[in-house]
């Protein structure tokens, strides 16, 4: 397992370097001059010139890139052009928020998606299967922003059960923190649950016809044991990959949901930064989320070893 892991990390490094070059180059290709926005409504030419100099906009792009990489390697991702806050500090503020949202959404997705998938595979062709499919499809097709606003209007405005939006840090008040995160993670979770449910279902269906499942049944094992211990365990491998990738996506930011529920996470950070042409923030966030994605992929690879003994022996 170790050499395998080592190989994967070796592949991951150039990926990160390539991503950093892409991000840097792409946003310089964006139309529009960030300084025209940053200089203020009056756009005083003198101020513009001073700012251009200060943020090294006059240097050739490769010089800007190396200056940025040099600082990034020392852990300095620069300063937000908009608020003067260090990018690392901004991300430090957002990361716990995003992770909490991602974890809670994932719990919703797993708790709903996997049992529903198993159920509809086992009861294939019955009413249960159709209902589960219907629910899953609606989860996929209902837009998050619509479901979000509807939930706010119903749960917060009409019934006054949960806070409409915002964010309370876990360290401040655990109960309140979970309460404010409940609706957004439900909205995100249901959409993901649909994907998970469909994949679990098809994966289970293919396994259910396998010889060893028939053997298990022939041995006279209880149906529950056949499904949960024999079938599910083998069906899980693709689901683990999917879950890890979905989790990576969640960390990269759930822009619309964050916008509706005003959650100060990564998605909102990067979208606002793109619109404000806040280069340092865009670069920093993309770099860190890309790294996060790669780590999640590695994690998924490692999970195969845990789930599949055959791989362990190789």
């Amino acid at each position: 397992m170790l050499p395998f892991l080592f190989r994967r990390i070796l592949i991951a490094l150039p990926t990160i370097v390539l991503i950093s070059i892409f991000v840097f180059a792409l946003q310089k290709l964006l139309p529009g001059d960030p300084l025209l926005v940053l200089a203020g409504e009056e756009r005083d030419p003198e101020t513009l010139a001073l700012l251009r100099e200060k943020y090294r906009f006059n240097d050739p792009i490769w010089m800007q890139y190396f200056a940025w990489v040099g600082n990034a390697l020392q852990g300095d991702l620069g300063v937000s052009l908009r608020t003067n806050q260090p990018v690392t500090e901004l991300m430090g503020q957002k990361l716990p928020v995003t992770i909490q949202l991602a974890v809670m959404s994932m719990i919703f997705a797993l708790v709903i998606g996997i049992p529903a998938g198993i159920l509809s595979a086992v009861k294939k062709g019955t009413a249960t299967d159709y209902i589960a499919n219907l629910v899953a499809l609606s989860g996929l097709s209902i837009p998050n922003f619509w479901l979000g606003i509807m939930l706010i209007l119903l749960v917060s405005v009409k019934w006054q059960l949960l806070p409409a939006s915002g964010y309370v840090p876990l360290s401040e008040d655990i109960w309140q923190s979970v309460r404010t995160m409940l609706m957004p993670s439900f909205v995100l979770g249901t959409a993901l649950a649909a994907t998970l449910m469909r994949h679990t279902r098809s994966s289970m269906l293919s396994v259910m016809n396998a010889d060893y499942v028939r053997t298990a049944r022939a041995k006279g094992l209880a149906e529950r044991v056949v499904i949960l211990k024999h079938a599910l365990r083998n069906a899980l491998t693709p689901i683990v990959t999917l879950t890890a990738l979905l989790f990576g996506e969640l960390v990269a930011g759930a822009v619309l949901t964050e916008q509706i529920f005003t959650i100060p996470g990564f998605g909102k950070l990067i979208v606002d930064a793109v619109f404000n042409r806040d280069y340092a923030v865009v670069q920093g966030v993309v770099l860190v989320t890309a790294a996060g994605f790669i780590v999640m992929n590695l994690f998924a690879d490692m999970m195969y070893f845990v789930l599949n003994p055959r791989l362990r022996e190789q």
């Binding site: 529009g32 926005v37 009056e42 908009r82 608020t83 003067n84 806070p163 916008q259 509706i260």
Partner: protein
């Protein structure tokens, strides 16, 4: 025993009731449309940033809802007869949040910072001040390059906000991470895109008028969600309610809606002479621009897009402004006249016009209605929607024929006109040039009395509406919605939220 208990509770309740009303202390939660930028009055540039400053940083002078200049940190001021200096008397006993005393030295240091710091966005606003003289502990003389009628209005905004010189020296360009001013509330905490928390400043010179323990500003970009938060009680007040949400807000008994016509405008800027693209029929022939203006029914536009909540307009000031030229009133559409002008200009069969427009809901809706109205006169408008930063860059570089753009507005009429209209003006993206206009704009800047200045603007407005480098469409209304527990809020045309005298009762 039971009776005693009841008596005690009743007494306690009675005591609470007595101490309630104005003295009731509370954390006020205000939802903003977007997150503020850097919290340094010298560096900042956003509207929402100014809303935060209204509680955080006092200014030398303030305005009334009718745009009169009134004392804040300066208690009185005298302009010399030749208009080349202003001497201000300053309020005594004022402290900055870090305990530094406010005095003439502090004012001098603030003006120097605004004028010399590399990152300062205030340089052009304070250009007329050549030097400052500390003539007493609480008296300062501002020497000017020449008469400047706009200076006091500048000092009523960010250029006049006083920051602690001690803190500013220590923090330098990073001052905005932990701003120290002398306003009613001091800075406590900021989490980007989440909240800005201010706490009541116990030593505030006007502390008796402040009835909240703290204020929290929460950026909530979605207007429906802002309103939902107010209805659920998660926030107490919101700014910029969408016109389309007015019916819902008005229908809720526990919500008060208040509005004021803004100081700015929205309109269409034409490329008159900015690079190659300025050489087109629309830039070359004012009759085409006039035709478009005649084709638009501004009142109908306001009804269709904003449910009548905004103010239709044809000048750079709203009709409610004292600077509005009443001899050029707003008129409905005159399609026949528009067609006649097109024929006269040689486009009897119609003409195309490409307008660039910011890619957000309201500007697009406005331009689609304009498009439909113009079509009736034979003007075929194509809309090119661009993200704002791109639109601005293209407009500045002259890569446009016409651009839907607005201006947030300034207290002094100069701010809505001068740099747009004079040759070489910083905001003159049309590259409009008319010596007579320059003469009037510059004269209005230095004229000593309001009446004289008004005469110059009246004359300039006649030329402006004839040449039409900017075609005005409407003026935004600032719309606030707040809980009916909040009392004493006054709507100002600058869109700020002033908390002096505002109380909370439950």
């Amino acid at each position: 025993m039971l009776n005693l208990k009841t008596a005690v509770i009743t007494a306690l309740l009675g005591a609470t009731a007595l101490t309630a009303s104005p003295a009731f202390a509370k954390d006020l939660r205000i939802a903003l449309q977007s997150d503020a930028d850097v919290l340094d009055p010298d560096q900042s540039r956003t509207f929402v940033g100014r809303i935060v400053y209204a509680s955080l940083c006092d200014k030398l002078v303030d305005i009334t809802p009718d745009l009169e200049i009134i004392p804040q940190l300066a208690t009185s001021w005298v302009t010399s007869d030749d208009g080349t200096s202003v001497t201000m008397q300053l309020r005594e006993g004022v402290l900055f949040h870090d305990g530094t005393a406010f005095n003439a030295e502090a004012v001098a240091a603030n003006i120097e910072r605004s004028q010399t710091m590399d990152e300062s966005r205030r340089k052009s606003e304070l250009k007329s001040i050549t030097s400052t003289e500390v003539t007493g502990e609480y008296e300062i003389k501002l020497n000017l390059a020449g008469p400047d009628a706009t200076l006091l209005a500048q000092l009523a905004d960010r250029a006049g906000m006083m920051v602690s010189p001690t803190a500013a020296n220590a923090a330098g360009v990073d001052f905005g991470l932990n701003p120290v001013c002398s306003g009613a509330f001091s800075f406590t905490e900021r989490v980007a895109q989440d909240k800005i928390v201010l706490t009541k400043f116990a030593d505030y010179w006007n502390a008796d008028e402040i009835h909240f323990d703290s204020v929290t500003f929460l950026p909530i970009p979605d207007t429906t969600v802002r309103l939902a938060n107010l209805q659920s009680g998660d926030i107490d007040m919101l700014e910029r309610l969408a016109a389309t949400d007015l019916t819902q807000a008005n229908g809720d008994d526990s919500i008060v809606v208040e509005s004021a016509v803004s100081l700015g405008y929205q309109g269409i800027t034409f490329n008159i002479n900015n690079g190659e693209k300025g050489d087109n029929p629309w830039g070359n022939d004012k009759r085409l621009r006039q035709a478009l203006s005649y084709a638009i029914d501004r009142e109908a536009l306001n009804q269709v897009v904003f449910e009548g909540a905004f103010a239709p307009g044809n000048q750079s000031f709203p009709s409610s402004s004292p600077w509005y030229n009443a001899s050029l009133p707003l008129e409905g559409a005159d399609v026949a006249k528009a067609k006649a002008l097109l024929t006269e200009a040689g486009f009897a069969d119609g003409i195309d016009l490409e307008v660039q427009v910011p890619n957000s809901t309201e500007p697009l809706a406005v331009m689609q209605v304009v498009q439909a109205m113009a079509a009736q006169a034979g003007i075929n408008i194509q809309l090119t929607s661009k993200e704002f930063a791109t639109l601005l860059a293209d407009q500045s570089a002259g890569d446009f024929t016409a651009s839907q753009i607005g201006w947030s507005g300034r207290v002094d009429p100069d701010g809505n006109n001068h740099s747009f209209m004079v040759e070489g003006g910083g905001l003159n993206d049309a590259k409009y040039s008319n010596p007579k206009m320059d003469e009037l704009m510059n004269a209005a800047r230095v004229a000593p009395t309001t009446a004289e200045r008004k005469a110059f603007y009246d004359e300039a407005m006649v030329i402006m509406l004839d040449d039409l480098p900017r075609l005005f469409l409407y003026h935004v209304n600032w719309i606030w919605a707040y809980s009916d527990n909040m009392k004493g809020f006054t709507a100002y045309p600058d869109g700020m939220i002033r908390l002096e005298g505002v109380t909370w009762t439950e």
